[in-house]
């Protein structure tokens, strides 16, 4: 074998090993996190965790029922803010508009997506908390909603663009106006994709902590209505993890596991949605 051949073969082996190793590292990071959470958290996830309020500082026991419900309320509010705006803006970008305005919209959307979450928190603080003069669920939901918008916009636009043009022509040739075509043919055709995008968007903001620190703030009790500070899983994890109490550390692990499980469930649900629709279309 010549030198060139040896060099070529060695390079092949090195690159294959390197790329394979990096792929393995990626997978193992996730497995490591899952493993750690499962190991430390699984034993603490019990009925109490889901049903009881946090005990006073220093007492052992209690749960995070208020944080679970709190995260739920915050995500609901965030969806009400983020989904309609994101969906309709995505429809605009994909179906209407000329050259300049859509370009500006896409660019600023991508910029908004890159804004650090804590800055979004400050923004929500200035816009909602200061006028109201107190922390609230509304402020937290607003902050998370703003974070949801860019992904909702872009993902909706992508899925709408993926719908073939001949469907649009078919509808218009039957006498449908542009808006009717979009609403009755295009959006339904892209619906599963859009829904999946929105669900994954929710899953992503479910774990955001920084914007909640000074909007929803936190609460050791139930938070009725929308006007009071509210507990959430990510903030609870933060509070408990940096505390000096072993019992709280355990509960923080449990919360981490529950949060991850929530994200996993959302992912699975969206795959099921996609699969069922694909099955229907195949006949």
């Amino acid at each position: 074998m010549s030198i060139r051949t040896i060099w070529r073969k060695s390079l092949n082996v090195v690159m294959l090993s390197l790329t394979g190793a990096c792929a393995a590292v990626t997978v193992s990071v996730l497995l490591f996190i899952l493993g750690y959470l499962a190991w430390d958290g699984a034993s603490s996830v019990n009925w109490d965790f889901f049903t009881q309020l946090p005990k006073p500082v220093g007492d052992v026991g209690g749960g995070m029922a208020n944080a679970i419900v709190g995260s739920g309320k915050l995500l609901l509010l965030a969806s009400l803010v983020g989904m309609p705006i994101g969906l309709l803006a995505g429809v605009y970008l994909a179906e209407f508009g000329g050259k300049t305005f859509p370009f500006i919209v896409r660019y600023t959307t991508d910029l908004l997506n890159g804004v650090p979450s804590i800055v979004i928190g400050i923004f929500a603080y200035a816009v909602v908390v200061v006028p109201m003069k107190h922390f609230s669920t509304l402020a937290g939901g607003f902050a998370l909603g703003v974070m949801m918008i860019p992904i909702a916009v872009r993902s909706t636009e992508e899925f709408l663009r993926a719908v073939p043009t001949n469907l649009r022509e078919g509808a218009m040739a039957l006498g449908a106006s542009k808006w009717k075509t979009v609403a009755t043919v295009i959006v339904p055709a892209a619906f599963q994709g859009i829904l999946t995008g929105l669900l994954l968007d929710v899953a992503r903001v479910a774990g955001e902590t920084a914007p909640l620190l000074f909007t929803a703030f936190g609460n050791r009790f139930w938070s009725p209505g929308w006007n009071q500070p509210i507990a959430s899983l990510p903030v609870m994890i933060y509070t408990y993890a940096i505390s000096p109490y072993e019992d709280w550390h355990r509960q923080a692990w449990a919360a981490g596991l529950v949060l991850l499980a929530l994200v996993l469930v959302i992912n699975v649900v969206s795959r099921v949605v996609m699969a069922r629709r694909a099955a229907f279309l195949r006949g």
Binding site: P164, N166, L167, R168, E169, G170, A171, M172, A173, L174, G175, A176, S177, K180, T184, V185, P188, A189, F280, L281, R282, G283
Partner: protein, 263 residues
């Protein structure tokens, strides 16, 4: 099953046929580029008019102007008159126009909905109040598809074969009872057996529907149409009764095309 469908209009009666479309001095531009030059054409009612010509001659562009579909493309301009029953179509409401003038496209384009919902679509968006299932059945029968799908109306339209999907698109277009059906190379994506079925379908529909069909298949034009127009480079070269155009063409370019010297 018939495999050859003769054109049937006797020459003597041609002059007295009512005209569904009168197109006068039609010029069409894609931006600065002109695609159609000074086209004058009559489309008789309840007959099949075929448009033939080499690729890129403007047949589809011309056809798509008849239901104003070219307006959906940016930067296009239309000059001249297109009269539908005497009225300029640019003065009509475009939604109402497209109910009267339906279109079937080259590749079948059923919606990702059930077979029933596909056919009912035009009815629903136009606010039809009566019995949808009756009309859906009627349209599917007219499109010769009813027997094949009557047990699976709730199934996805995508489960059908290509030929069935095209007949579904025809049924969908027929559901709103158009006066005119524009067909843009409807069989080019289909096999010969299915093509024959669709040609037979057009023959049966003729009595109640004026049809304009673009085809690159001259044999199809000869089989299925009453009148044929030959277009070349955006100009209308010749238009006559189909049998005459194919046996005794008047223009040498027509003769060159139909004898296969180019195209």
């Amino acid at each position: 099953m018939q495999t050859a469908i003769p054109a049937t209009t006797p020459v003597a009666q041609e002059a007295s046929l009512p005209l569904r479309f009168k197109i006068r001095k039609l010029n069409f531009f894609y931006g600065p580029k002109q695609a159609l030059y000074d086209i004058d054409l009559d489309v008789p009612t309840n007959r099949v008019t075929a448009l033939i010509g080499p690729s890129g001659c403007g047949k589809s562009t011309f056809l798509r102007n008849l239901n104003r579909m070219q307006e959906t493309i940016r930067d296009t301009r239309l000059e001249g008159e297109i009269l539908l029953d005497g009225q300029n179509i640019l003065a009509l409401d475009v939604v109402k126009l497209r109910k009267r003038v339906g279109m079937v496209f080259q590749r079948p384009n059923p919606f990702p909905k059930s077979i029933f919902d596909n056919v009912a679509y035009g009815l629903r968006i136009n606010g039809y109040k009566g019995s949808l299932s009756d009309l859906v059945e009627k349209s599917l029968r007219r499109a010769a598809l009813w027997d094949e799908v009557k047990d699976k109306l709730s199934h996805s339209a995508y489960a059908l074969s290509g030929g069935q999907q095209q007949r579904l698109c025809i049924a969908r277009a027929l559901a709103v009872d158009p006066e005119v059906l524009l067909l843009d190379e409807p069989c080019s994506a289909l096999d010969p057996v299915t093509t024959a079925k669709i040609e037979e379908l057009l023959f049966q529909l003729k009595d109640s529907c004026t049809m304009v069909i673009v085809t690159h298949n001259m044999q199809q034009a000869a089989r299925a149409s009453d009148f044929t127009a030959f277009l070349l480079d955006g100009r209308l070269i010749e238009r006559s009764v189909t049998s005459e155009l194919f046996t005794t063409p008047k223009d040498p370019r027509t003769e060159a095309y139909i004898t296969g010297r180019f195209g």
